[in-house]
């Protein structure tokens, strides 16, 4: 799966979790840019990604992520491994 395909698959997850049909995740996107991105929606985002891609994150992997690009990099590592 290319990075571009990954963003395409992430888009409906982001739109559903944050209830915003115009949302288009991009590498530089941060939680501060998305009004409804709080701790609870962040949990839902992580769980929905785990279920969609059949992967499991560790706490260390999702702690301190600076932006969506870093999250995508973690997902890519999981999918390759």
């Amino acid at each position: 799966m290319t990075t571009e395909e990954l963003y395409t698959k992430l888009t409906p997850i982001f739109r559903d979790v944050f209830d915003d049909e115009s949302l288009a995740p991009h590498p530089a996107m941060t939680a501060a840019e998305v009004e409804s991105w709080d701790s609870l929606s962040n949990i839902r985002l992580i769980v929905d990604i785990e279920q969609r891609f059949k992967i499991h994150f560790t706490t260390a992997e999702i702690t301190g992520l600076a932006n969506v690009g870093e999250l995508v990099a973690v997902i890519e590592r999981k999918l390759v491994g």
Binding site: L40, I43, R44, I46, V47, Q51, H56, F57, E61
Partner: protein, 153 residues
């Protein structure tokens, strides 16, 4: 009042199942109408329900959700859970006095977020009444009294 079983993270596994039997009685309907303020005809008027193709007045969907609350709060994950998301689809009506079973199964465990995901169904015999999913966050079993004791040791 009884408290739920306190399952820890290591006690949980994908595929774990629980089952709870219940029936909704006329008194439950009356009490829910009072508590919620929902006194709509499909729930109070049997003749109205029958004229619209139902066998009898229909049990409030929220009283089925109440059983989901029992299952996640008392059984799986139980006492340490915090409800994070519930989704339910009503498939066919439940009637007063019918013996129903709620079956729930763990479908996903997210260790990073400590979220337990379940799918569930409510059945009366072979008839599916409702299906859905639920997510609970498993909280820590923090014992404040022992923490305080340690501070003073």
């Amino acid at each position: 009042m009884q408290t739920g079983r306190a399952l820890g993270w290591k006690d949980l596994a994908v595929g774990m199942k629980v089952q709870a039997s219940f029936s909704v009685e006329a008194r439950d309907m009356r009490e829910f109408a009072l508590a919620s303020g929902d006194n709509s005809r499909i729930h109070r008027d049997a003749q109205f329900a029958q004229r619209n193709g139902f066998a009898d007045r229909v049990v409030y969907g929220a009283l089925q959700v109440a059983q989901l609350s029992y299952v996640v709060g008392m059984l799986l994950p139980g006492d340490l859970g915090l409800a994070a998301a519930w989704q339910i689809s009503f498939r066919s009506p439940l009637y007063i006095g019918e013996q129903a079973e709620l079956n729930a199964e763990v479908t996903h465990l997210s260790e990073a977020t400590r979220i337990v995901s379940l799918k569930f169904s409510i059945l009366v015999g072979e008839r599916t009444i409702a299906t859905g999913s639920a997510q609970s966050k498993l909280l820590d079993d923090v014992d404040m009294s022992s923490d305080s004791a340690n501070v003073h040791e």
